[in-house]
Symmetry: C2
Subunit: 230 residues, 2 copies
DNA sequence: CGGGTATTTGACGACTGTCAACGCCAGTGG
DNA sequence: CCACTGGCGTTGACAGTCGTCAAATACCCG
């Protein structure tokens, strides 16, 4: 079984806990919704396998991708979830999720301070990522945002040993990338072409990519007027 | 003493706890840094009085404002703060802060599950705000971002009874607003003029403003091509 | 092999950034 | 009391990034 981040340093405790609460494991097919933003959420999840895209739909039909959850990440534990989740979760690949009732999490806080500390730590890490993304959307141009986004995925996959060197799986359409970095699909296509032309990105197939880390890093911190499009 | 959100429902416990840990109260003058992003942070804070701006400085000199902390908010409890805070905190006004060592917070998790639950809840709320801001930066145009930003402040000040109706204090320069919503100061000026012209915003002085809630709300969800600048 | 979706490309225009000049205001010092 | 000075806000002209529309191509899956 895959190691998962929430309980990494306290695996044994977790196993006991999980068993005690008879946590349900479930499999979601690729491109299926896991939950909707207007539904109340009774449970939280840890993601064992697969990619999940968390996003918010706005009134005018636009979407903002909040986070790409990777194996080991924690989902669905959000503020005010009794009313509604506040965002949707979509499986980008087939996913294996471990679901458990929110009440169990609340109970955990009382009974297992170690796990609670870990939960808080993970939440703070998610927060830090969210803030990085804020800075990226607020201060960088389109090319730098896309480069930052790709690099972030590479690094996070490496932590999980899901990337071999500079090669990683990639399960998003350009439209989804667009909604993640706050530009249009058309412009994603243009930026991707730039990145390919400079050798920063190479697609082996639709779902497999090789990144040039240093090229991407250079592009990622680039706010200055980029090299012309043609 | 001002009510503060972290301990609102458990005021008594907090008072005991605070006393037990001999929490330090401190006063920071306006426009002074509370902590830097490259310093390790030993303590966390609750803000009793004043406005604090949390922001990240990027390599190229740009800044991204992550959050405006208002009375009752919690600061400085971030991931990896042993190494560095990851962002700076600047007092926008004179502030009264209640500081306590990170170790105390860790200890609280063990001894006071009720407080811990509240801490988690606050963190999730901060997270939700961060995600709202992501959506704003990613999907809205300049005018809508500024409108959203102002409305958010109004609502949050009202919760604290720090705004009377549509009138609220305002302690930021346009440059700071610019860094918050991800546009340039010059363009903030232009957008502010639009908002004033449509009656959504009226400055009584540099630090006092009246907002028209419905006008702003309309502008805030507006992504469509806005009315021309002149 | 065919149909639908995703991606690519071009032309054009809108939104936003940049540069520069000016006005306003507060605090300072004479 | 008044001139001075520096920071902040405003405005205009112009440039560039990015969005929109549309059409063509490539690709996946039945």
């Amino acid at each position: 079984m895959r190691k998962h981040a929430l309980f990494k340093p306290v695996e044994d405790q977790f196993l006991q806990w999980k068993q005690a609460y008879r946590t349900t494991q479930c499999i979601v097919p690729a491109r299926h919704l896991i939950y909707r933003q207007d539904e109340p959420l009774q449970e939280a999840y840890t993601l064992f396998e697969g990619w999940v895209m968390l996003f918010k739909s706005l009134e005018d039909g636009k979407r903002q991708v909040l986070r790409i959850a990777l194996p080991g990440d924690f989902l669905g534990y959000q503020a005010g979830q009794e009313l509604n989740a506040g965002h949707c979760a979509l499986a980008l690949t087939q996913c294996i999720l471990c679901a458990f009732p929110k009440a169990s999490v609340d109970e955990m806080v009382v009974k297992h301070p170690e796990l609670t500390r870990r939960l808080i730590q993970m939440h703070m890490q998610t927060m830090a990522q969210c803030q990085e993304r804020l800075a990226s959307l607020g201060q960088k141009n389109a090319k730098a945002r896309v480069a930052t986004f790709l690099l972030d995925l590479l690094y996070r996959l490496r932590e999980r040993s899901d990337a071999e060197g500079n090669r990683m799986a990639f399960h998003m359409t350009q439209e989804e990338v667009a909604d993640a970095v706050g530009i249009t699909p058309v412009h994603v296509s243009r930026v991707m072409r730039q990145l390919r032309d400079m050798g920063a990105v190479e697609f082996l197939s639709r779902s497999e990519v090789i990144l040039d880390e240093s090229e991407l890093a250079a592009a990622a911190s680039l706010n200055a007027p980029s090299t012309s499009l043609r």
